[in-house]
Symmetry: C2
Subunit: 565 residues, 2 copies
């Protein structure tokens, strides 16, 4: 059932072998492509390699169209996690690739998940005293260039504007990879006295990092994020802020996305190059790889010293401000897909699902149609009025069975089925996405608005906590407590996360990375009880670390060593 | 009172004489600048030319700080509208300039106005069936390049990425000036049959146009906007959509921004180069210049033909789709400033004001402080609970008089004053921003929550309609009905808008532009009654046109002539 012809293209477009694919050839292949089944355009468009595409004639294409839902094939998760991931993204129409290598078009269904993330976080940011604003995306090259000797090591992650208004620019412009430099350039102008502090802002923006190995949502050339930036009068305040924001992210992950992230502090090796401390939330994906889902940095005075951001304190002394920055990006959407999805496709936690309930009307005879559709419309109105996100799929062009599969693949938490018998009895059938088959199906739920509304809301809450519980069990059964390097290696080789006392050197950490592929994801805030002996050195150790193999992450790193010295 | 030293800099940074100002010198000047009064950093930072800045010693700076509100000087609107505009932007902390020429940092107070615009429009877009999504900002140069012979005429408005990942790119990338091309590239892949139509999407994004003459909000190198893009099966549907969206913009302008725009159709000369028809809303600024505040284009099949965006209709025929695009940008914030502001500063319509009510507590003796602050806090809570946007200015560092001036300058619609006597009598004093002095001040409004809430809400509604009525009167008293070219010239020379029957040629239109500086802003939807004789030719004419001098607008123009032929 796995369409081997489809997968390679999306995979390869997001891999280094297609480093510079000609957009002209892309466009030609699209222009030549015959029409495919509606509703699966993303899959078709995203998946057929041009070489093969051009051989598809319109006859074959109509056959594809006629095949109906057999066309919608998702590689089993257990067989090939990466292929499964790309299939889900294409089939559920979450994203498509843009014409430029490594760029991504976020389609309405995927963007709606991002909007759910934005809506929640935006409120929390304001509640915690931050204001939104907007900084220009063009940053003078001089702001982030390293000393001449290091330029080559740095540039690879940047996109540079060198021509503007038809002329070569005197100074190249960097397309924002992150905004600490331009933020500090402005903070230096706005901050004068302790009365101007704390200064706490956030921006929702696009950022660009010239990644060579890309993957939709997880690592793309351009992505969307929020970046918070704050300046404080004391190091204590900055530390408190950095911790507060990783806490906001943690709550979001647990309560909204049903992702049981492990929050903690990064090792020195893994700390953001411009930060004194980096806090992170680490999520376990379905393939047991770790995804860094959000970070919060205590920047200390690194940027304020580099950019001269000073204030006059209450005693009249000039001091550099203490800063933080923190970010969550569209990569979180990838985290949601990879945490909850199964062989059937996407599975969305109700609180961030663009559609929480889909209603599928069922009729055979023409005279049944009106009654069923009226009841379905009325049920939809009831639930919409109750504040739920509802989709009534009343198209005549697909069978109920096709619709069941389609909306399951799209991860909609609840399905309501209404047939002629249900209309007679004034009840509906409700199926849960998280419990397959008959077990998840309940018959005879009354259509009476207050009863139905209450029932649906309770079920959605159940699904929300069930997804979280399932993810917690999965996570905990895949973390192994280790007390020696041998045990660590074994855990990692089994694809699991290791957890064990760590007070070893940076060199040891790099050696582990080289020998096992695992990196220390964090020193979790929640530490096991008891005395600890470092798993590498046998020495006393204060904290347990969490080494694991991770999903690729953004590679952008400041190097402020010269500026800060 | 006008600080002549301050104005030139912001003006010149946004003018061509500072085409390429060194960011290094900017940074140096900022680093050397001594601290100035908190709360006026934007003014100080944005306004002092570096040559003079460096001469300011810290002694002078403390004098500035001590001067208090005399430091906050806004050029009278009647004296120099442009200087007034820049002063308001700096003093009210709406925006600052970025380190790259022509770029703008949108500060929290300015961004909050943009958020109010977003919040309203986003709901309306969804109500009218559009979904949000996101397209990459990098567009292959081949997508928008003209034929080789025209390249030079086109490039000036573009920023080009030529280096990525440390290497020269094979194909230059255009930083999105608008997205029709990449949208159509994707639509071509997603649209196959009539069942896929209409396809109606919107994106909130940043766009870049390499403008040589820039002005904050009104025309900047990078700005924020929403761009809607739709595809339809018939020209009638596309036309209906284009009209629907200009109607959404018109309602927003009248009902939220209190700007009585004139909606209408652009002349052929002024129509967006990729469109068959362009609809526009034109607003009259305080200097009586016309501001194009939003446009909606019926694109016909221009882009679908250029990009091969076809669908199979119900009879099995392949057809090109019919499209629209429509946009409103951060320039609307400029329109709000220039419509309602006065010599005192900003004046914001309550429905889009980031702060609707400011509360200023007043006390002299220390033992009055607690009582006054408690009452002020309680009043603030009452109004916040009622859903109003409230600011309690309880700082000890400024006098009540200073605060009155400050919040008037920031355009807050209502001010509540609470002193010891008010506390005793359980009442407050309320002042309207739109009615200066004692006339706008009412004493003895009860603090009783239900009374106060009702009173404040009624006053805010009054201010909202009063601002609209005032703007309508101003607009109508500055439009002159003309029936000859002589009358047109006279109206324009008096700084007014002309309105008169028009069926003259494009050449005549260009001649008017050349000779008077005025362009036809639109053929208004609301036309005067009666038969019409063209003011230029004396021939019968169907429509009256609205020629006026306009605020500079974006110059980006597609040239699809070759692609469409």
């Amino acid at each position: 059932m796995v369409s081997s012809l489809r997968l390679p293209t999306l995979t390869s477009l997001f891999s280094p072998s297609f480093t510079r694919r000609s957009t002209v050839s892309l466009r030609r292949s699209f222009h030549l492509r015959p029409p495919l089944a509606a509703g699966f355009s993303a899959q078709s468009a995203a998946s057929s390699p041009p070489e093969i595409e051009n051989q598809v004639d319109s006859k074959k294409s109509s056959r594809v169209q006629d095949r109906g839902n057999t066309d919608r094939v998702i590689t089993p998760l257990s067989q090939d996690f990466n292929a499964w991931y790309l299939d889900v993204i294409a089939n559920a129409e979450l994203a498509d690739y843009g014409p430029v290598r490594g760029t991504m078009v976020i389609r309405p269904y995927g963007y709606a998940i991002w909007e759910a993330i934005q809506d929640y976080l935006n409120v929390k940011f304001k509640e915690t005293g931050h204001s939104n604003m907007y900084f220009p995306q063009f940053i003078p090259y001089s702001f982030i260039e390293k000393e001449a000797s290091h330029v080559e090591g740095f540039s690879p992650e940047l996109a540079l504007v060198t021509v503007g208004g038809g002329k070569e620019l005197e100074e190249k412009l960097v397309v924002r990879p992150t905004s600490e430099t331009i933020v500090n350039h402005m903070f230096t102008q706005w901050i004068h006295s302790y009365r101007d502090l704390p200064l706490m802002i956030n921006q929702w923006a696009n950022v660009t990092r010239w990644e060579m190995r890309t993957k939709p949502f997880v690592r793309t050339l351009e992505f969307l994020w929020q970046e918070g930036h704050t300046a404080h009068a004391t190091p204590e305040e900055a530390e408190k802020e950095a911790l507060q924001m990783i806490d906001v992210y943690t709550k979001f992950a647990y309560e909204q996305a049903a992702i049981p992230v492990i929050a903690g502090r990064k090792s020195k090796v893994e700390t953001f190059a411009g930060a004194n401390k980096t806090y992170t939330i680490e999520a376990m994906m379905g393939d047991r790889k770790a995804l860094q889902a959000g970070t919060s940095h205590n920047l200390g005075q690194n940027f304020s010293r580099a950019f001269g951001t000073q204030f006059t304190d209450e005693s009249g002394q000039r001091q550099h401000v203490w800063q933080t920055s923190w970010a969550v990006s569209t990569r979180f959407v990838g985290g949601i897909i990879m945490t909850h999805g199964d062989d059937t496709g996407l599975m969305l936690p109700p609180r961030i699902a663009p559609i929480q309930v889909v209603i599928v009307p069922i009729w055979k005879k023409v005279d049944e149609r009106t009654g069923v559709l009226d009841a379905a419309t009325s049920v939809a109105e009831t639930l919409k009025t109750a504040g739920l996100k509802v989709k009534l799929d009343d198209t005549d062009q697909r069978t109920p069975g096709w619709k069941f599969n389609f909306w399951e693949m799209k991860g909609v938490p609840l399905r309501i089925e209404i047939g002629p018998r249900d209309v007679s009895s004034g009840s509906v059938v409700i199926s849960r996405r998280d419990i397959p088959g008959k077990q998840g199906k309940v018959f005879g739920i009354s259509m009476e608005p207050s009863v139905l509304e209450a029932y649906v809301k309770v079920r959605l809450d159940e699904i929300q906590s069930s997804l979280l519980q399932r993810a917690i069990s999965f996570r905990d059964s895949n973390i192994v407590d280790v007390s020696s390097y041998e045990e660590l290696k074994e855990a990692i080789s089994l694809g699991k996360w290791a957890r064990g006392p760590w007070s070893a050197s940076d060199a040891d950490e790099l050696r582990v990375k080289e020998e096992t592929g695992a990196t220390i994801r964090c020193f979790p805030f929640e530490q096991p009880q008891g005395t600890k002996t470092c798993l590498m050195t046998g020495k006393h150790s204060l904290f347990s670390a969490l080494p694991a193999t991770s999903v690729p992450q953004e590679t952008f790193r400041y190097d402020l060593r010269e500026k800060c010295s």
